[in-house]
């Protein structure tokens, strides 16, 4: 009971964000403190002064040594508190493409009601990334962004973050470490110069035995509206126009919009020349189709057909490709 009360007392408020994961994902350890290298020298200096004061029975040297011992003691508390009042409210790494730069976004919250936290070092373990936050006023948040890079695709754990400080006198080193039980994807690189394997709606509907409505593709080359007839693809009805005019209209696009990119995984990866290159090429096609808003249909190795008609599906396929291995084909 007491422990709960203490937990409640020391708990930091959450930074409300759509990326903020559940509380149990975040493991923020208590702060630790040790003397810094300069702190060791300084402490030794005080000992030397006390030894001199002993030897020469010099009360003034005693006084100076005691004063600096007190400063040392207070500095220990100040450095510890400088870290203690800081919580990492948010850590977010959006997925990014291999060989390109990603962003690591970290939000710190100073939950102290009175004092600013100063000169905090953020170290991203395993990435060699460091950043310094010079000041976070009381009861406020500060977000820092750092650039990440990865040379190979895959699924990665969120990096461990060390928050440290030597403020104010560089005599002590206080730190706390945060582990965030979450993962991010590094998509395959967007590389390759081959043209996408386009099919027409008719070809594909025969191949996959589907209705044309299901295979509706769109490009962003919008031509205009025309009235809806019973044969039109209902997905093209512009409901906004309907709301204004109380009449059904459909959107028309350029002719190339009828092109659909279709990939059958088992066929595409059958001749594995350079597996990575093929994955990279596929990623580029997927990315381009998303960019130009053309329909992309994928038949996965388990014969599941996926229509990449919204962003989530694109991202989901890219995530699969991030961890795709040759063995997955069989």
């Amino acid at each position: 009971m007491v422990k709960n009360w203490l937990k409640k007392f020391f708990k930091a408020p959450r930074f409300l964000s759509k990326y903020t994961p559940d509380r149990n994902i975040k493991k923020q350890k208590r702060p630790y403190i040790i003397p810094s290298r300069f702190g060791v020298y300084f402490g030794s200096g005080i000992l030397v002064l006390i030894a001199l004061a002993y030897t020469y029975a010099n009360q003034l040297i005693y006084l100076i040594a005691f004063f600096y011992s007190s400063v040392l003691f207070i500095a220990m508390h100040l450095t510890n508190n400088n870290i203690k009042s800081i919580e990492i409210s948010e850590l977010f790494v959006p997925n990014f493409f291999q060989d390109e730069t990603g962003i690591l976004k970290i939000t710190l919250h100073n939950n102290h009601s009175k004092y600013s936290a100063r000169f905090l070092n953020i170290d991203i373990i395993g990435y060699g990334l460091t950043s310094v936050v010079t000041e976070i006023p009381p009861n406020s948040f500060q977000t820092t962004e750092m650039i990440l890079q990865k040379r190979s695709r895959g699924k990665y754990h969120y990096p461990k973050v060390t928050l440290s400080s030597k403020f104010p006198f560089n005599l002590f080193y206080s730190w706390k470490r945060l582990t965030w039980d979450q993962e991010f994807f590094v998509y395959p690189a967007r590389e390759g110069h081959a043209d996408p394997p386009y099919s027409s709606e008719d070809e594909l509907s025969k191949k996959l035995d589907l209705t044309s409505a299901r295979l509706d593709s769109q490009s962003d080359n919008f031509l205009g509206h025309k009235e809806y007839t019973a044969y039109e693809n209902y997905k093209r009805i512009d409901w906004k126009v309907y709301a204004r005019k109380n009449k059904l209209y459909v959107k028309t696009f350029e002719t190339e919009s009828s092109k659909i990119c279709y990939i059958d995984f088992s066929e595409y990866f059958r001749n594995v020349g350079d597996f990575e290159k093929r994955i990279n090429q596929l990623t580029k096609w997927i990315f381009d189709s998303q960019k130009w808003n053309t329909l992309f249909v994928v038949k996965l190795s388990n014969d599941e057909v996926t229509f990449l008609d919204d962003r989530k599906k694109f991202e989901s396929l890219l995530e699969k490709l991030s961890v795709f291995r040759i063995q997955d084909l069989t």
Partner: protein, 655 residues
Amino acid sequence: MSRLLLTDYKSLAFCIFTSTLLLFPDVPLWCFTLGILFWLWRLFCHVFDFTIPSRTITGILSFLALGVVLLDFRTLMGKEPAASFIVILAGLKSLEFSEESEKDFLVLLGFFLISSKFLFSYDLTYLILSIPIYVLLTLNLFPTAWLKASRNRALLYLGKVCLLAVPMAALMFVFFPRITKKLMELPTSSRYGTSGFSESVSPGSISRLSLSAEIVMRVELFNNATNLSSLYFRGQSLEKNSQMTWNYLRTNEGIKKSLVPKETDYKIILEPHYRSYIFSLRNTERMMTETLGIYHDLDFNFRFDSFLEKKAVILASFGEARPQVNAVTIARNTKMPDMSMLTAEQQKQIQVLVSQLKGKNARPEQISKSILDHFSSNRFAYTLETGENPSLNLHDFLFKQKKGYCEHYASAMALLLRLSGVPARVVVGYHGGEFNPMGNFWTIRQKDAHAWVEYVNSQNNWIYVDPVSVVAPQRIELGSNVYNSIINEMLTEDEIRKKISSTDTISQLSMWFDNINYRWSTFLLEYDFDRQKDILKSLNLSLGGALVMILIALFIISVFINLLQKRGVKKKFSELSFNEINNWAAQFDLQKKDNEGPVNWLHRILQQLPEKNKNSQPDLEKAFSMWIQMSYQKPLSETENKRTFSEIRKIIRRA
């Protein structure tokens, strides 16, 4: 990089340089010059943008310096070699300073440099001078970026840290147990101290001393009021003479350890003079100090068992009448002066004078009076102008020069007494001083240095006589300070009166500062293991108890710092009320959804509430309505909010 120190870290450079300057009197000249040369080198590099020497070069130079210090002092232990090496090291480190990361080490060196000054002096003036240096050094420990951006905030922050540190330091100072044994045998003798008298006095040697205003000692008299003219502080008696030069004669006759005074008649705070003798008032019988042993001979010339190389507090008491002078001493002090250097004519002239002074009555008292009368009636003058002249002989002084300082008259009178067959000797010490009415103590300076005569009277007792009292009575009545002012500045009567009463602002301020300095020195010097034990005894604490108390105090201060920095955002009353409601609902496994409004949340609670709790429905509705009012309707005052919150809490707890 050669400009980094003197552009970005000006204050740090200033601190190190000033600390080096403050150590000038305490380290050998070559060390100080070397330290300053390194600074000039750095300045040269800065001005002409020259490359600063590499670390290899400065490393070699520091090893060389260490070697030379070792050769010079024959040791590296002790305060003088240490201070000398730190001065050179600070110069070298400042010379090679090229990166921000080296700043901390330089600051640490600065701390040592300025602190080492206090190994040599307790003086409050140095402490006051060093406080801004300590502040600037500590300020330089802050991150440079912060200092540049907001120096005032950094200063304020430092002020708060110091405010917290002061009581803790005071507590540690009072209760931290002092060990009286030395940790190791560090050399304590100095090669340099020469202040005060040497063991010989020749014509001009005291007049040279009288040009210095350096403080010799401060004296506090307790039991008897003493006027200035009777304040003779005896240093040592000189019994061996050669012409007019008098030397100390080591006899070791009747040397014994001084007894501890039963009652303190006066207290001396003696500045270090790197000699073993102690200055004492007439009829002093017992003396003691904490740090050194004190001995005295048959004539009560007091001496330490070692050289006095730091300030000492000496407690002293007067004694009964002195025993009669023994035959050996009389024989030693009746030894006729060697007159062979003088021509027969000169010797005859002196003989005539001596026989005139002796007259028919050969009693020592009468002879002494005749000599004084001779000085007063034959236009002898008291002056500093004669300068140093160690080869001056008695004839020239008595018949040609007829002017001199105290040592001329004391030497001449002692010689005349001996020529008349009266045992006599010269005594050197101090006379007079400045009285500080604020602190009720006397300050004796080098310019109060004095010499007088002692002769053995007809009852075989040593009697002191001061020939200056007849040549320049004002010097004895008013003291050297006022007398010299009168002579040199040609003061009017009003000015003399003002000078004597010391009523002008500068004198008052000077006395005030001197008083504080005296108290400060006394406090530091007298605070020792015994004093500490007295304090602990008055608090009913043992030494172990004191240590435990320090630990408890540290713990309390630690908690205090944490409480001061109470963490956690202060929540609004509406949030607190909301938490109360939510916590209450949590016991029925009900949790508010993120997208749920307060009214919906209330309805859901009411629907899902167990049957047995249904009767708390009206209370809950009331609490919700109050919370909604507080959160979403027109803002209430802080007091009203608080009242509403406590009401909601009551309702919820009842429910």
